[in-house]
Symmetry: C2
Subunit: 293 residues, 2 copies
């Protein structure tokens, strides 16, 4: 993911606008993403669908597959029938990359907001990236959050359930928010010196996990894609509210490749907004293909 973001911010990724198909009965959507990295070996076409009534018939709502083609001949090279798993993993790997580059030098505890698949994957990946084995979890559905805590206790993590987001914010230096919430879960008061807040749940113009005041408090606001964060995710809400300016935004790829400074001190508050870019799909699909070859 570090290489993916660096390639993106360097302008080496060719990623046209996402194609979309909408369905009415039953309601659903399919997104077709495609692109390549100049100088790479492959181009990618990814199809991801969401049919929200699938669980009623015992099927997952999300589906997807990735196709890789040879960038020099157009020959199909791989069909990865991953059911959306690779998208989940690349999103978690992006959180880990952000934590690795932007967390303060010493992190006592990781806070996870949310209790779904992405919450679990973020905890696993971020914990490994910054070598921190303590975590607090808070979820809007308390029972689901409790199950997550119990499950993950098996995996050598020192993990507890938080009673509130405020408790989580008071005790953690890295917080990852992973919900599809439409109303802010973290208030301005949650932002404490030294904190790194990574928002991965909001990937549409409507969703919002952070109060715009959290971004207003930040010393540094980081996007995966500046262009995309102007129209969706946390940053676009904060710019819309006038509390931050477009020129304040730094791309994580520019920090990774060293053309922009990351964390300046252990006291800075940093917010990272990850909305998901197709270059991540390209890199994870190619990595899988190489591992299989």
């Amino acid at each position: 993911m570090e290489a993916a973001f660096a390639a993106y911010s360097e302008g080496r990724a060719v990623v046209p606008p996402v194609g979309e198909l909408l369905f009415e009965d039953p309601p659903g959507d399919a997104h077709i993403k495609y692109g390549y990295v100049r100088g790479g070996e492959h181009f990618l076409v990814k199809v991801a669908s969401g049919f929200y009534k699938n669980p009623e018939i015992g099927m997952p709502s999300s589906n997807g597959l990735m196709l890789l083609f040879d960038q020099r001949t157009g020959m199909p090279k791989a069909v990865l029938l991953d059911d959306g798993l690779l998208t989940d993993v690349r999103t978690a790997a992006a959180g880990a990359a952000a934590a690795k580059h932007l967390a303060r030098s010493r992190v006592e505890r990781i806070g996870i907001v949310g209790a779904g698949i992405q919450a679990r994957l973020q905890l696993e990946h971020v914990a490994r990236a910054i070598s921190c084995r303590s975590a607090l979890v808070w979820g809007r559905n308390r029972e689901r959050a409790r199950r997550m805590v119990e499950d993950l206790r098996q995996s050598n993590l020192d993990i507890e359930l938080a009673d509130s987001v405020s408790e989580l914010a008071a005790k953690c230096e890295v917080i990852v928010t992973t919900t599809p919430s439409g109303t802010p879960l973290l208030s301005r008061e949650c932002a404490r010196p030294g904190m790194l807040i990574i928002a991965v749940g909001s990937d549409t113009p409507e969703k919002q996990e952070l109060d715009v005041g959290v971004l207003a408090m930040a010393d540094l606001v980081v996007a995966d894609s500046k262009a995309q964060c102007l129209t969706r995710g946390e940053i676009h809400h904060a710019i819309g509210a006038g509390v931050i300016d477009e020129s304040d935004i730094v791309e994580i790829g520019d920090i990774i490749r060293g053309v922009h400074v990351g964390r300046g001190s252990n006291d800075e508050i940093i917010v990272v907004d990850l909305t998901g870019v197709a270059v991540q799909d390209i890199f994870i699909a190619v990595a899988v293909l190489r591992a299989l070859a």
Copy 2:
């Protein structure tokens, strides 16, 4: 293909704009087409690429595959690794549908302009559609056209090589043009009463097989997609030259489903411009899936 064009003209096909990836070194392109027919079972994603230096390394320049997904759940149903064959066949089947609905009642001879894969497929499909076993072939590459004539003599066709397009036009009542020519091959003088001219080669804004005078002479000008023919193919050249008007254009799907009259008499000149629409891909992929099921 008849059902495909009817569904398209009826407005039942959902076919967003085509996605495109361009490559520079080596030069190539990939087109991503996707869509579905409302009330159908599937949605389609098709990837078709052209890498024009592939033959230098012993590979075909065109490549492609089609993916079918369940329209009610998003589940992947089929990956058709057809190397572009299905696109060739659906294009030939479209020519056959045009001939079936728009040729005069008696056709002595079919004329084919071009000597490539599409020329052979058109002859095979059109001959079957109108039960005519006599054909003349003219190709810009005479040697290639001669080989085509020799090959197809094996298949119970009464087939000869024409010395010129004028000879072909003088002796045939149905002409199919199948070349990627950038300059018109059929002049105004080629258009004779009773003729049906089907142009399938031109699928970009630049390519042109028919002099605009041919369309000016026509009693009826038919498009596969009115919207698409305004920006590419023969019709857009003729409209650009001012010899026909947008309101003159009739969609073949409207003729097939009976909301517009087709041929009015055995003396009419009819020109059909087939630029290729994604709904054809949807129908042929679904037909293949059904045949395999």
